[in-house]
């Protein structure tokens, strides 16, 4: 009886172990096969969005990720996620600040391009989980273009300074807030 029980338990343990090992092997293989492609996609996505936020810089190596400065501004404001220095011919022409303010369906991650004068040159949405056909429309140029030329001391009140989208107040507010945060971060970076 006791031996029977042990045999039974062993059988269960062995079956579960075998299937988990096989599954683990299969997953490791898939991971190895897709890893490079995933990294490539992420990098392409990043460059594409950077270029949209800062149209003046045309090459991908114009954008230098500045992890040291990211740390600094992120400590000041948790919604600021990343800072790129935009350099053309070794000279800085501005910043791209990535922000992730909370929208209706989660954080809206977007890049804001700001030149050395402190003016916004472009806004480009990277990832958005807002309602399709409603909040999702904040990524359209009709909305984002309203921020072009704005500076850190400009008011960005939705409904007054910025035309919000009907039925998407939360998403519109989140975008305006994110832009404001990006402007503040760029001001802080200043001549660094």
């Amino acid at each position: 009886m006791r031996n029977g029980n042990i045999a039974k338990i062993l059988k269960l343990v062995i079956s579960l172990t075998v299937i988990s090992v096989i599954a683990g092997g299969g997953l490791a293989l898939t991971y190895a096969m897709t890893e490079k492609q995933i990294a490539k996609q992420a990098a392409e996505e990043e460059t594409k969005s950077n270029k949209e936020a800062f149209p003046e810089a045309k090459k991908s190596d114009n954008f230098v990720a500045r992890d040291d400065l990211t740390q600094k501004v992120h400590n000041e404001d948790k919604d600021v996620q990343k800072v790129y220095e935009v350099k053309v011919d070794g000279k800085r022409i501005g910043w791209v600040v990535q922000v992730a303010p909370r929208g209706y369906g989660g954080p809206i991650v977007f890049d804001v391009g700001i030149n050395t004068k402190g003016e916004i040159v472009g806004v480009s949405v990277i990832s958005i989980k807002e309602t399709p056909g409603l909040g999702q429309n904040v990524m359209e140029p009709e909305f984002t273009d309203q921020f072009t030329g704005k500076m850190v001391n400009d008011n960005l009140k939705v409904g007054k300074d910025i035309d919000g989208l009907t039925g998407a107040t939360i998403s519109s507010d989140a975008m305006a807030l994110g832009v404001k945060k990006a402007l503040k971060a760029a001001e802080m970076l200043g001549g660094n």
């Binding site: 897709t34 399709p132 039925g167």
Partner: protein
Amino acid sequence: MNSVGEIWQDFKNGLLVENPLMRLMIGLCSSLAVSTRVENGLFLGFGATFVLVCSNIIISLIRKIIPDEVRIPMFIVVIASFVTIVDLTMKAYFPGAYDRLGVWIPLIVVNCIILGRAEAFASKNPVVRSAADGLGMGIGYTIVLIVMGVIRELLGTGSIVLFETTVVSLGSGFKPPVIMVMFPGAFLTFGLLMGLLNRLQNRADA
């Protein structure tokens, strides 16, 4: 014993007679959430179909050596592995769709259709029939997702966009009722679709 007719029957079963969404009414949650766009339905449908077919095949293959007491954890390991394969592959090759579907891809693991078919069909039937069942169920699921997507995207946004090209547009004069792409629209569409199907069925039976 595996006659072609029998396999065809297993395949056809999932399309209408036992359509997982419209007849068995399982796996509804994902269908209501992602059917805001046709493209979402396409990708989630293909992903779920792949997982269904593969997990049905593997589970059917090992059905005689699985100890009864631990069958559910073993099913889940098999299903979760295939879901992760779909997850990684989609992330690598279709990042846009992956981003929009978000949590619904990993959630295929707990989609009742897949565990349901593993338990109710694949663990009791031979490999070929299980594969046919998985394929039928998967396609049945995908078709309903697409039909709901067509209705909701067209009415809710005024046009249907597939792979960044507008396929159908109702024109700028049409002011889309946004409710169709929000949650109430999902229930409306689903309920009306099911009512329509029942009516057709009643007609056919009478």
